[in-house]
Symmetry: C2
Subunit: 247 residues, 2 copies
């Protein structure tokens, strides 16, 4: 059972201001909760239906924190997503720790990416392509937004996001800095290299001028039709797929 | 000026039931409205701010329908998107006309795709890669949903969508039928061919069994990390990028 005060507390974590002050966030859905428990995040509480708790007893037995059993109808009212009727967890945010990009790895950089669905999808793409580091501008959407976590499909547990001022970061980065523009090298035929930072621009404005000045390789995704541009997460995936493929 | 009854009518078109009975839909935002006016859709009414009407006078002078000038605050209250404060149009739905896929062209097929954002993004991807035909199952999200049109960024004017029962359609299609699975040919190295139907599955369940039985080429997007799957629109884009590239 959950007290009214507890329900109110959990719901308050849907709001960024309260997440920030508590340094806690909510993970929704069975798959994401299981990925959370298998990660290096600290989980404080798991709230699940009897069916969830019974089904995943082997995994839950390795978890030392609190487990609360509730009905599905209670769960679907607790989080952001009404479709969640199996499990939810409260976890501890990680501190904003600096990430260093090595010359033999690719990392992503987000220049004021605003859409939570895009951010989550990009984290999922990074995870698919074995990219574990994302550098984000301070104005990029917050990682712990429920829509971001949902779209990441559990990949937020394997991809680290570091929020920092981008130009300062890039000025001391000793790796190739790739940005997607209309007048760059063809990503289908360019020499791919072994690593670097791939910059993804804002959904409406693209890559900002001050960041563009620091780009060392301008890349273009060839177009065969008439759309003016591609969605940010789609463009990220195409770039990653091309950089990862064999010759 | 718009009467209260007119405002009510336009708002009613946000609901699928009313769109269907009226066979009309709403297009929001300056870019999408301009693309609509340049397309073969029949536009009944353009509603815009003075600034929009003045800025695009040359384009609007070629449009014979009704133009209504309103304040930005009226506009942002009229549609699905509060951020729209420049223009909106009411257009006629197209009849659901059968699309034939030729052996030398690629087309997309959507097997119960449900998320409006995904559908719009997939239409935008199709437009980028010069794919002009999409075949969709009857349970796929409706094309004229405001979120679909918004995510398509105007590409809905150049990509035709035909809703039909998929298995009947595929049984008489004399072209390769491609589906993405975990155990297929590597899309990076496979012989790409010149055309065919690319099937995109439901977000949660993937491609349905009855459609899977009709697939003639199983394709796999190589994975380099740990995510279990990719977002439907992202996977579509990667397949299209690979099929379109030179050897």
């Amino acid at each position: 059972m959950l007290s009214k005060a507890r329900i109110k507390y959990i719901k308050s974590l849907q709001v960024k201001k309260y997440r920030q002050s508590e340094q806690r966030f909510v993970v929704e859905g069975a798959k994401s909760v299981l990925e959370l428990l298998g990660s290096d995040f600290v989980t404080h509480t798991v709230i699940g239906t009897q069916e969830f708790i019974d089904s995943y007893q082997p995994i839950l037995s390795g978890y030392a924190g609190e487990i609360v059993e509730v009905k599905g109808s209670v769960l679907s009212d607790l989080g952001e997503f009404r479709t969640n009727d199996s499990a939810l967890a409260i976890a501890q945010m990680k501190p904003n720790i600096s990430l260093h990009v090595n010359p033999d790895e690719f990392a992503l950089m987000l220049d004021d990416l605003r859409d939570p669905g895009n951010l989550g999808t990009i984290i999922r793409v990074a995870d698919w392509y074995g990219i574990s580091k994302v550098i984000a501008s301070p104005d990029t959407t917050e990682l712990y937004n429920p829509k971001v976590l949902h779209a990441s499909m559990g990949s937020f547990t394997r991809v680290a996001v570091y929020y920092t001022e981008l130009t300062n970061y890039l000025q001391v980065a000793a790796v190739p800095i790739l940005g997607t523009f209309l007048d760059g090298e063809n990503v289908h035929t360019m020499d791919r290299g072994k690593g670097g930072i791939i910059i993804i621009g804002n959904e409406a404005r693209g890559i900002s001028e001050r960041v563009e000045k620091l780009v060392t390789r301008r890349v273009t995704i060839p177009r065969f039709g008439q759309a003016e541009s591609l969605n940010a997460a789609v463009a990220t995936a195409i770039i990653c797929d091309n950089l990862r493929r064999g010759k």
